[in-house]
Symmetry: C2
Subunit: 437 residues, 2 copies
């Protein structure tokens, strides 16, 4: 993409309303714009990052064996009256009357609707397990929305659901999601730690929050130092196999937020304890027959009897992760995108647009990266050099290739790693080969 | 995908509530499920088709030079009060009060919000043209929603917007979208005809509807027979070049819906006239300064003065197209997907699950197609053969490979083209080579 054809309205000044670093940087980098309180438009740079995160979430859900569906944003209140949550949910639920005066709502979550889909079509244990997810916008009418997309009112969430014949099968579905979450966050360059959680308003017996580490995170986190060096779950993991050992290894390793951590009873030695901060980005629940009972989702069992189906639900905050990743990865100059979610892998800065040699070299590099399938942003604007370099740092692309008149006279460009700050001079050909490897 | 791991709740009986063929087939093929009146959940098969359509729309918008953003579904009523449309829009607009009693609404379109983004960031002609689009759910509270997703209340739409310095530039943006639409629908296997249109409630001076031909379409269409044989616009089209000749050639060729067609004044000979039916799937508008004036979107001009920016908007009904394509392509046995939007290219039917030779051959074919990057659905259920074949016809995958015990004894499978009905016996190796070519 050429910057002259890209809508990237970066800001020089730090917006006053932004209280946390990710909100400040998302506004400054032209990623989002507030449409109304707690509701944002995603501008091209922010949109692209969100889509990359969404795609990683999708791939790992598919790999774990879930089928993607899409439920609507607007739901009939009838399902919620049936489950008993319509009155419980309080003012966070956006309640709506349609033109025929029917009670509708903007879904804050989808247990009711997915259970209705299940009970309509599935009647026998033979069709289990049922594993469906969707990635859809939700609305929670927070009394005081703030922190940008970290706690917005309209937000994008992946919510998966499982339907199983008994606890043992439900546990297998739970374990699959547990492992899929480890892989999902790891692929985004995040250190995510599952922590035993209270099940909250959705209810249930078995529940973990996934918290990503970030110095500026909302929660205090205490965990065993081994968490800092745990290996990723490989792509080759067999989801049909026994995942319990992986889950057991995780749950055996100490981790707790400050709400649960008590120095007096902490089971590990002080020298093994890491004290840091984090942000909740996922939450998984097993809640048994809570919704299948209230909504009447029964299945025929092998012995000819019927029983309520066992359910779980599994959420990831997709739009929240955009901010979460920034909280986990930034410096004084701006965002530092992990490569897997970067809007572009490479930014080319043409320091002197209009200079024939610079233009030719920058354009040639741009074409070569594009043809090699590398996502690249070329700053071909006629802004001054310092502003261009600052802007490129701000938007945080993993690699910068700087083309200037002095260097290009001897066929040299500068390649900078945004994360380490390391700069190396090399020929354009070497830059191309280094960054397409 | 193996059918035993796929949620495909096909129906044997035709649902009574469905009045048109696409609605009947989408319900029968397990593509959608009604969540409430005019609001649908998209089940895996329907979701996949919608995503393929969305992706084609996206690629052609990007190619034409538009940047993708995402505006929220819930908007503040303030923008609509500013533009003057809040009172005009009537009961089709879903109006909402949030917890602080502020007037909100579920966006039926986005002229106001995109103009707000533009006026916030763009002040100079130097930053023009502005070309932004998004693909987002909309809500129109139809008094009597029907025809399934063809006229639903919650629907997915691509809406693009252009901001230009003057009429000539705005016309170039309009022409780009005009050509992008020709390409978009052509890629989906549709014959789409642009027709001069009244500009409707959005208002404007220059406007075309794009109507796809379908025998069961909602509108009568009269057009020159040359439309039946017009060539596609090639992928190599240069959007920076002069597109006016393409647009002129289209607008010169007669086409009108029955509202505008008058046999008495029709400019072409009766023998050149084709009388058929169609479905509106796109609408493009140039409307000048209608919104920039009411919302105060001014730009600085080269001569130092200021003026209101010239705008256009360009819509495609993405979820509606799923039904539109079915209306255009079906037979008594079910859907016939054009390959570009098919949920899977190939369906393998294992006629005798449990038979070692059939299982081995079907699995081997499945693995080979998958490894070759061909999207394939394997019916590995233990349903009876007749039901499997009928189901495969119903869901309309372009190619079927039928593996049966008699054939496989001599290394023969049957390859069927869903559209033509042609069947050929060949070895699994030949089937693979034919369908991966």
């Amino acid at each position: 993409m050429r910057l002259t054809r890209y809508f990237l309205p970066t800001l020089k000044d730090t917006p006053r309303e932004a209280e946390i670093v990710s909100h400040r940087l998302m506004l400054r980098a032209g990623m989002i714009q507030q449409a109304s309180a707690g509701i944002y438009s995603w501008l091209p740079l922010g949109f692209t990052v969100m889509k990359k995160i969404e795609q990683i979430v999708r791939e790992e859900q598919n790999r774990a064996g879930w089928n993607e569906v899409l439920m609507p944003t607007i739901q009939s209140a009838d399902f919620w009256k049936e489950s008993g949550r319509y009155d419980d949910y309080g003012k966070e639920m956006l309640r709506i009357k349609d033109r025929h005066d029917r009670d509708m709502l903007y879904g804050p979550t989808n247990e009711e609707l997915i259970t209705d889909i299940f009970r309509t079509h599935v009647r026998s244990y033979k069709e289990l397990p049922g594993r469906l997810y969707h990635i859809q916008w939700k609305f929670r009418d927070e009394v005081r929305p703030r922190f940008g997309v970290m706690r917005g009112r309209e937000f994008l969430m992946k919510d998966a659901y499982s339907f199983d014949i008994d606890f043992e099968s439900a546990r297998k579905s739970y374990n699959r999601q547990f492992v899929a979450y480890l892989r999902t966050f790891d692929r985004m360059g995040l250190k995510a730690i599952p922590m035993a959680a209270d099940s909250g308003p959705i209810g249930g017996d078995l529940s973990h929050e996934f918290i990503i580490l970030a110095d500026t995170g909302e929660s205090e986190v205490f965990c065993h130092k081994d968490w800092m060096t745990t290996d990723a779950v490989p792509e080759t993991i067999d989801y049909e196999g026994d995942l319990q050992p992986i889950v057991d290894a995780c749950t055996a390793r100490y981790a707790a937020t400050d709400e649960k951590h008590d120095p007096a009873t902490c089971p590990i030695a002080a020298e093994d304890l890491v004290h840091t901060r984090g942000i909740e980005v996922g939450h998984i629940f097993y809640f048994g027959t809570k919704y299948s009972k209230s909504l009447g989702a029964k299945i025929a069992l092998p012995d000819g009897t019927e029983d309520f189906v066992q359910m779980g639900s599994y959420g990831v905050g997709v739009s929240r992760l955009v901010a979460g990743i920034i909280e986990a990865s930034n410096d004084d100059n701006g965002i530092i995108w992990p490569e897997a979610v970067a809007p572009f892998k490479v930014g080319i800065v043409n320091l002197k647009v209009g200079d024939a040699a610079c233009d030719a070299a920058a354009d040639a590099l741009y074409d070569s990266f594009t043809n090699a399938g590398v996502e690249v942003l070329l700053d071909d604007t006629d802004t001054r050099a310092g502003a261009k370099l600052a802007n490129m740092d701000l938007i945080g692309l993993p690699w910068q290739v700087v083309v200037g008149p002095r260097g290009i006279a001897t066929n040299v460009v500068e390649v900078k790693n945004r994360k380490t700050g390391e700069k190396h001079e090399m020929s354009p050909e070497q830059a191309l080969s280094k960054l397409t490897a």
